[in-house]
Symmetry: D3
Subunit: 159 residues, 6 copies
């Protein structure tokens, strides 16, 4: 039967031993959405074309958060990320923004927590910058889209 790996046989949390795992190239992509009023989305997009600081701020926050994952998520291993990128996409259907983050490294554990932390903090930063004009935003759909490398091999949502 499957088991929660971060809990040992006595039911105690621990940072699992990955020292026996092979060092392989790994990457993960995660996404998040932030739902807002159409006027709020419009305001970000206008800012974007004219000046850029709104999305640039959220992107930097997401990149830095990826590097701090093991400091935020207690049982995550410290990792030497070799790449982090964060993308935004306006989605008028939502209406709102979609956030995507990709993390990469050669290591002994997967990097999906880094990608998930990155999109979460990028979305929270967008929220922070827009909260004065929109009190009803909702952050959601935070999930892993794709994982590559590691023992379990490649995986993608819906595949």
């Amino acid at each position: 039967m499957t088991k929660l790996t971060h809990i040992d046989s006595k039911g105690q949390a621990h940072m699992v031993d990955v020292s026996g795992k092979a060092l392989t190239a790994r990457s993960a992509t995660a996404c998040a959405s932030i739902k807002m009023r159409p006027e709020t989305l419009e305001m970000i997009m206008t800012e974007r074309h004219a000046k850029g600081d709104v999305l640039a701020t959220a992107r930097i926050a997401g990149i830095q958060a990826a590097k701090r994952t093991s400091d935020l998520i207690p049982l995550c291993h410290p990792l030497m990320l070799s790449k982090v990128s964060v993308e935004f996409e306006a989605d008028p259907e939502l209406p709102g923004m979609r956030v995507y983050a990709t993390c990469k490294l050669a290591g002994q554990t997967g990097v999906e927590m880094e990608a998930l932390t990155s999109v979460s903090v990028a979305a929270l930063t967008l929220y922070d910058m827009c909260k004065a004009v929109d009190k009803h935003m909702v952050i959601g759909e935070i999930q892993v889209l794709e994982k590559r490398g590691g023992k379990s091999g490649d995986w993608s949502l819906g595949a």
Copy 2:
């Protein structure tokens, strides 16, 4: 017309001047959900009653994240939180867990970003602890439920 307060008249990000604002008692409550397979929820709940480390780990992560909000969200002010609490509730309808965080302080800015950051990191920690048994979890519904204090007064979702 309303404006993005974190962007100045030249379109540049800045940490807004709150030095003229009154120091008042403020609190905020936020929530998040993490959707999972019924078996995963069952596993957490069993762990919980027997041993407690799964939810305790996520709760501590959420409390510590609230304290680090200004380090994660670039334009947030450093704050002296006077209280943080994180609660979990199993929701078999979801199915999954619901996370609630309440932050409190006497200060010059609201604490909704602290509450939102807290539930986000608590949910990410649950995700981390369960990802070995469930690859399809989705974190969502991250939003503010209630705010008290400050110039704009009390506010609650749906009120």
Copy 3:
């Protein structure tokens, strides 16, 4: 009956609400000892007189650790320390070094955890600097010597 204040009525950890407590001047002094071989102590003291970097390094580590207490101890409140000092005293009887730290602030909670964290990290730093020459050091006697201010008033060990 007395209760563990950091555990709520449901047995869950939380950062207790101090918003109703008065803002008063508070200070705390804590100590620690690090037992070592007489030759190791001699080596530190020689370094000290000649150059100073051994104790200076440990002192800085202790001062910085005091400022990071709420980041290290999950249920500690963030505090605005107004003073931190760290002192060392060679004790040939031990034999070893004694470390003392005093922290001060005007705030709503006591600062004994800050003083205790400070002496602990200062002692760990001494250990780190001497471990190449002494594998049997023991850090101990970490305790609060004196507390001033706050609702419970002044208190000192042995008084």
Copy 4:
């Protein structure tokens, strides 16, 4: 005679006691320059108009660094900054960029270290982003331009 305040009578570093100082409104402005080849400056300015991420990244780094000053500079007190702003100005005479940061708070100590740390890290971030195209950049002229508030009153460079 004047004395190094961060060194006590025994010649030991300590975080000075500010608990007796009045809580007053304070601000400080600091600047830095980063000298580069004219082609490098041209490249940043082109990026700026078209897209904005170069200066936005350096600005965010400067804002976040101001908040982390007491974590970086060992004897600085933790402070609750109420405002941080970072500005850039292309100076074709240098040739290069000039960086300005203003910090503000109501507190017991000045904020010039926060402003100086902010411009330093903003300049280092510009350096990082341009180093692939220019190996001879030099960061300099890091100084305080103006201080307001506190016991010693208002002060400005050259006044």
Copy 5:
């Protein structure tokens, strides 16, 4: 003659060069004790069986502290820990709790500082949670029990 390796020939602190050292599997186990009144120990143990949050909180604090060792101890190298575990044992003879931490990695330096930092912070966290009911606790007996790997080979206390 033996030398303090963290102090160079001029008596100055530095982070020693380990780049020539082989990358080998290393582990270390350290312990600490926290002496308390029998009633305090009883209270923790009762909490433990019923709910678990007291020890779980201290365990998480210890695991996170191990990951932050190089940030706390100035001359420690940043390390990629591959495993951290923290255990508690009630000792009615003390009376009090004993804390054990084991750290592991494949690297160029030993991990005893990580294990020592982990038990110290776990013990400080227990202290914090119990200080409202017991003002006379003492943390002590912080030492390395066992080291494996590296040039100097395996070592254990008392062997």
Copy 6:
């Protein structure tokens, strides 16, 4: 044509992918100067000979800052530094102090940002310790002196 590598084809900041780069031995040396009144320099040098805490404090700050570079400079990769050293040299001609830092590692990216961050924070710490006696200090001449290793090979200023 050369390009700003930290900005992608859409003009967005990202942490560049270094996973394909070889892991080689790398080092970098950077310097900074801090100009002050002759009396201030005299005061530091007297302190130095007698007690050492002024330069020791700045040295520790510089070493710790090197380790935090990826946390401060948004697009820097996390690195496992294998050595950091910081040196000071009084320069009566300046008049003031010169600071030098050397960083080393086996990795996929250069360490010049670590060396530059180290000298900057060491100089800021000196500034902080002397600001009570000298309001006109200027930090400058922050530049890379020498780089070794990596694809582009050895490089030194003026060579």
